[in-house]
Subunit: 413 residues, 2 copies
């Protein structure tokens, strides 16, 4: 049993995490949020109070912290007594925040792999480059560390585990499909920090097929998917965190990730990419100013956090898992559909942030009640999925199943 949560980060996902933690502070205890820019933390806490989101009276405090500094994070943990950290800060701070947790004994939860700001795309499997190197340290210290505990990675890992456990003896393929059929009304915008968003697509696309890592280029392999609610949608094979852990845990299966893109997105991305405007390597202007093109692109694009009020439409994210049972081929699609407008009404964020931010709060609640507090580093497919599904049915992200027998709630499968 652990209590009191420290949220690291103050972006769009942190906003969702904060609201969901507040709605469940009877389980989670005191709440804290820390970021380099403390004013952003104050704004999030204010929005929580504006929506009267706190389930019961309690603490919600803001802290200024440089999350690249383990000592500073550990100091906040000591000061606040937080026993659970939900890290939704930049992808560059995972290892320093994890270090602070190992030192203080707090449980660690994040939603994406660690990245080195100087590298675009590491060689697979990505978790082995940073996080898994601390697995033994976590075990020795009895520290619970849940990696990639957002939606994708996160829920989709649990979807794969569930599909395999419930429907098949052998798994042959896991295809994760992420479709945002929403409309933000802008000429162009990324849904997350453009720096992180574009990095997903500028490197090599790694997939796990035929028992080995395969590489492709972005937008090289596309396929139309027939999906519940959002209909037929084109998605492209992309590199993504969860492919790397699922490939290690289910090496016998092909594991692929498919991200939905409209032609307009691809066109804008391709132009920027080909011109060199997505580069993280500085260029020098004629006036002698050194500047990273990607940071300028980020500066001219809409701030993703401003999209929420006008975002309409739905997301559909799920796993098509194929395998065999009793020698027969089986295939099942486990998925969630979320609504941008409903997300905004509830927590003041768009649906993409909502799907990313709600699962780590559910994980934190399952750490708090002991269900997921295993004192070890784990990826989500290594956790029992049903308690998570049951909790998310209740707090906003219901899981459904579609197969030859029809489309239904997961617990009726």
């Amino acid at each position: 049993m652990k209590r009191n949560v420290l949220i690291i980060g103050a972006g769009g996902v942190a906003q969702v995490v904060a609201h969901k933690c507040a709605q469940n502070n009877d389980v989670l205890g005191d709440l804290h949020i820390a970021s380099r820019t403390v004013s952003k933390c104050h704004a999030i806490i204010q929005s929580v109070h504006d929506k009267q989101a706190m389930k019961q009276d309690g603490v919600f405090e803001a802290h200024a912290v440089d999350a690249m500094d383990s000592d500073a994070v550990a100091a906040v943990l000591d000061k606040t007594g937080a026993q659970i950290v939900i890290n939704v800060g930049s992808a560059f701070v995972n290892m320093t925040v994890l270090e602070a947790c190992i030192r203080t004994g707090a449980a660690y939860i994040d939603t994406a792999i660690h990245e080195d700001p100087a590298k675009i795309c590491e060689t697979p499997p990505w978790y082995a480059n940073y996080e898994w190197k601390r697995r033994e340290d976590c075990a020795k210290a009895g520290v619970t560390a849940l990696l990639g505990a957002g939606f994708d990675p996160g829920m989709v890992n649990a979807f794969a585990r569930f599909a395999i456990d419930e429907f098949m003896d052998e798994v042959t393929s896991i295809d994760i499909v992420d479709i945002n059929a929403g409309d933000h009304g802008k000429y162009f915008s990324t849904n997350f920090d453009p720096e992180i968003n574009f990095r997903e697509f500028t490197g090599t696309v790694y997939s796990w097929q035929d028992g080995a890592w395969q590489s492709n280029k972005m937008f090289e392999v596309g396929r139309d998917w027939e999906l519940p609610v959002v209909g037929t949608q084109r998605a492209y094979m992309s590199g993504h965190d969860e492919v790397h852990s699922l490939a290690v845990n289910y090496p016998q299966a092909d594991v692929r990730f498919w991200m939905g893109f409209g032609d307009h997105y691809i066109n804008v991305f391709t132009v920027l990419q080909n011109l060199g405007l997505l580069s993280e390597q500085p260029v020098t202007t004629a006036e002698g100013l050194e500047v990273v093109p990607l940071k300028v692109v980020k500066a001219v694009l809409p701030d993703p956090s401003t999209l929420a009020p006008n975002y309409t439409g739905k997301t559909c994210i799920g796993d098509l898992v194929k395998g065999t049972r009793d020698g027969e081929e089986v295939e099942v699609f486990v998925y969630n559909v979320s609504d941008h407008e409903k997300a905004y009404a509830e927590v003041g964020s768009q649906g993409i942030s909502y799907t990313a931010g709600v699962p780590p709060v559910a994980m934190a609640m399952l750490v708090a009640d002991g269900t997921y507090d295993h004192g070890a580093m784990m990826n989500v497919e290594e956790l029992a999925p049903k308690p998570l599904f049951a909790l998310l049915d209740r707090i906003g992200l219901p899981t459904r199943v579609k197969d030859a027998k029809g489309d239904r709630e997961w617990h009726r499968a």
Copy 2:
């Protein structure tokens, strides 16, 4: 009679001007080239010597000058004794260089209107905003100033004058068509300094029709043109310098400028424009760095001067002029076709720079021999066109005519 030339600027067009001046230094006398970056001047002089372009032994010297400083330009004129200035520097230096000429009595020749770095698109007629305000001063000082004396503006103004004088009693329309059917082999590049090139297309498109200024958006009005050598090409109505002086000199005619663009160029331009990356207003990155997006785009694009070695194909630039003679409708196309590879072989530049750089040298030669040395400020349509055509036939840009009677050299018309 005037002698000795000072070239202002050291870009792609200056390279052509330098070579052509050298090839004609028997007429022009001593040659000087001045730029903020004197090493660029040295490189150009070196390339002139490498090609053994000097017609006879003579002076070709480099000078460092800030052309925004009239005193500094005047000092170079005093020091060198240059009596003719060919200004092919940035569009921002016209007025300071002209001021130095008025002060010293040197003849002034430029190839594009003055621009204020802080403004994208001025209200028409553009020459009236800066240059024409000094017309009286030129007349008083007896200073020859030839404005817009490149290809377009420049030769196309002379084409219009020639067509009207030779073929019609009344002119009803002048359509200037600029097609570059060349291929530089890059994903995307502008042919001139991107900062200047994009500025032509980011503002309002002004045309003179029905006796008044009309405004459109860029790429709003497109039309296919059936042209000699380059075939059918799509061009879009664009704002351009020469529309402004021709509309004042031929107010009874519709005057329009059409620039050829492929779908790929338009797509890249549209993406950059819509994202705000062509803006000259600084943005601030997340790290607090103030930067002008257009300058970053310029930094990532190929340097136009590097395109020349691999440029293939041809340009076709001409005027379709319509009017009446003896009550009958007549229509004539006066044009030049240039070849990128031939231009590179001759002067080490691509065809776009070649067409822009050769005419001002011809003008300088006609100032040197007195033909164009009228001691007044003039646009090119105010000059007798035939001496210019005859000279350009000889030094690299032959003029042709196409009408109902066929396609032939201008002097057979």
